[in-house]
Amino acid sequence: MSFVWRKRWFLLLLPLLLAVTLWQIRVESDLNAFFTHTDDADAKLLSGLLQSGELSRRYLLVVEKSAAHAEDAPGLAAFSGKLIQQLAQLDQVEQVWPAHQPPRDWLNASQFYAPYHARIFSLNPEQDAAALFDQEALPRRAEGLKQALLSPQGGFIKTIAKQDPLLLSLNGFKTLQAQFQQPGDAGALILQSRPPALDSAAHERLQAAIRARFDDLNQAAGQAFSLSMAGVPVFSVATRDEISRDVALVSTASSLCVVLVFLLLFRSFAALHWLLLLQGGAFVVGILATQLIFQQVHSLTLALGASLIGICVDYPIHIMAHSAKHRTSPLANARLLWPSLLMGGLTTVIGYAAMGFSGFPGFEQIAVFALFSIAASLGLTRWLLPALLDRTALHIADLPGIAGWVAFCGRRRTLLLSLIGFAAVLAVFSLPQLRWMDDMQKLTINMDAIKQQDATVRAHFSSIEPGRFVLIRADDFETALQRAEAAERRLQALRRAGIVGSYHGLFPWLSSQALQAENARVYDAALTTQFQDAWLSALNHAGLSTDKLGQLTPAGTAGLAPEAVLETPVRHVLSGQLLAGQQGAALALWLGDHDPAKLAAGLQGLAGTRYFSQRDQLNKLAGQYRDRSLQMLAIGIAVMGFLIWLQTHSLKNTLLTLLPSLAAALFIFASWALLGEELSFVHVIGLLLSISLCVDYGIFFIENRGRDSNVTYHAIAASTLTTLASFGALGLGKTPTLPILAMSVSLGVTLGFLLCPLLIPKTGPA
């Protein structure tokens, strides 16, 4: 195809491709998809909890009255009541209630248990029987029943008492109140939202709506109140804001730096605009492919993808540098350099592929994005660039020091190689001092201000933590319930010992058939004629109807089925504790303040039961990612070496090609070891990337297809500068992974670039 038609087709297809991409693209900002989505069972559990766990979707709101307005303003309780009414009207709000009052439908749900009172009255029926069936206490219980019937809760009690005169079914619920805060803090509210916790776009709108409703009421109340919010969704929105800022900043800075470097080198706006169109095309292909494969593109992929500009631009730059220096056509240089370009692109793709296989879910997307962007960039460079630059005059500025460094390396090679060798030995010895990061929190955005606010707000609530719980697993639901009951008995003991402050169990909302049978046995045994007579006497004494309350029927055989329970509003109460999407059954017992080590030790010996901490789980994941990334580093290097050997059929050239990048990686690892830098899988991935880039330099330098080392090294210098410009821009990001990648890649490519003329002997005329 002629150059003219190539250009025309490109200019026609690019807008079309752009339009299709814009039509298809769905940008995802859910951090969970980027950080924790893996095949590991625990990671899936963690991911599910973060996605839709009931407690993760919960906002803690605190309304406070400012001292300045304390006199004239309406009462805090009245204001909070109005706010509850307002917030309940929002579409994205499932339920909102005062922290010290469980939602009314939760309380009413306990009426459902009355017919099953004989089967669910205690977690420890044998132990509690003496107190619960004490005949001496029956007059007091009958009197208590009468007073309860006369109280404001009379209607509620009456419904239960008709089926359960001893009110045994309420026994297990006595602890429910303890899960709520004692009356007094009228401004503490709990809001259950509908969207998953990490759907930050939906939560941003919801938070704005909450604030708007509050502001309206507060204005009417003379600005006497303030509102604070906490909860996982608050973090998710703040994180999204930070990431959005990072994406915008990094993309802009990266593109600008590359443009500036290019203009500095080639001083041609004509060449620049063709180059940008070409890179734009490669970028759009990468995005579209990612979208089609993953059904969404993460915003962090876009941020890290922006750095690819600096890599993809290398391929045209090599051709343009050679064309400018030798005054030869871009087409001739594209043909001449194509084998080196292809191999360089391939090794870079291998670097990204290895990064994708590190297990870190976000990197899978980036690897795919890189694969398609690099392939597109290579193809466009080979077949389109000569057409685009057909009539463009190219000049390249001499970079100061480049020729001098090549000459110096040539003159002092022996001395410098000795020094490098000595330094390499020292570096190897320093490697055992490497420190590995064991807290994945250090890789997340620093949000101290929000954490502080979160702690302040949580101080107003009972301290059930969303991130740490007792995890129960079993093959079937009945076994899981039995294990949960055993764990609750253990937790009761641990609470008495002061190791755990409070916990959210499943009993009496759900009881195993085994526990129900045990309760029924104890109940039937206690239901003697003597006991029944004593109850009738107590009812008579209290003035209560013996006809309607005197019949204490045996337990019977019909048990309470979990399925029946979950058809009532109880499913809302328990939705944060029945963990979905698991093989078999998984249940969670949520914990308040506790001593993790003692609690974990206290649960020892319970089958299928363990302490689960989201934070520990994340750290475990980080450890897995690190180990995988080290494996991938080794595998990536091996595959790159193999490909180079396939092309060169020379072990010496293969080693020489790899040497600068490997030496750079070694020295960087050693520097980190000596400086005490804590290393994460992101550091390793960064070095892996830098190796895959530096290998390109080795390939270009050793093949030296222009037969002019100075020109080749100039071209390598130009591509190093663009890589530094684009990856350096990542350093502006606040998400810690971005500066780490910036540092690793920048150090790696700089050292690799400098070591090329030193470690690789010149192969062409200078």
Partner: protein
């Protein structure tokens, strides 16, 4: 229908309506009251689950802000109160203390709200949820309140209030949808009895402060 007969019927209906409206206004005027007041009461409750009527007595205090405190003195000391949007309950003998938003309380608690409307003559509140029918016979008057279908809750009680020439005495019969009844006989408390209790002090006791 003959035109004369039609006119007579129409006239009769109009007269009856106006006559009823007149009685209702008069009865409602008797109920209306503002400011602070104290009553002593005798309460008789017929509970579905009780073998015999349950009786109690005590005092009720109201103020202009809409607070109502019902202090049961016999057979045991129990305070039930509404103040602002909150309901308080304190049974010293059973050591049972509750406080909750009125909207959170169940149907049984609605009784005390109606009571407040009756004692304080909040006729608009009553008319919002009830169809009112008044009757005056000699010195006796009565007001029958039937829950409006669809507006009052499904368990809303019907209420009969009656009295005689003595403006300080009233009889209130509350009949729940499930058949339970509560009868109050109230009369203005003597000054000496009124002075013995104050709303803030009783609210404090109910709230456990």
């Amino acid at each position: 229908m003959k035109p004369r007969l039609g006119a007579l019927l129409w006239l009769g209906m109009v007269t009856a309506v106006f006559a009823d409206d007149g009685k209702l206004s008069e009865v409602l005027a008797r109920l209306r009251q503002s400011g602070q007041a104290s009553f002593q009461y005798r309460e008789t409750r017929q509970l579905e689950l009780a073998s015999s009527p349950w009786q109690a007595q005590g005092v009720m205090l109201t103020d202009a802000a809409g607070t109502l405190v019902k202090l049961q003195l016999q057979p045991s000391r129990v305070i039930m109160a509404i103040s602002g949007d909150s309901l308080y309950y304190w049974d010293a003998a059973q050591n049972q203390r509750h406080s909750m938003p009125i909207s959170y309380a169940d149907d049984a608690a609605a009784q005390i709200l109606i009571f407040r409307s009756i004692l304080q003559g909040r006729t608009q509140e009553l008319q919002a949820g009830y169809d009112l029918a008044a009757d005056i016979q000699d010195r006796h008057w009565s007001l029958h309140m039937q829950p409006k279908s669809g507006q009052a809750g499904e368990n809303a009680p019907s209420i009969d209030i009656s009295g005689d020439a003595n403006p300080d005495k009233r009889q209130i019969l509350i009949r729940q949808a499930d058949g339970e009844t509560t009868e109050y006989r109230i009369e203005k408390a003597a000054e000496q009895q009124s002075a013995a209790y104050t709303i803030p002090q009783l609210l404090q006791e109910a709230g456990g402060e």
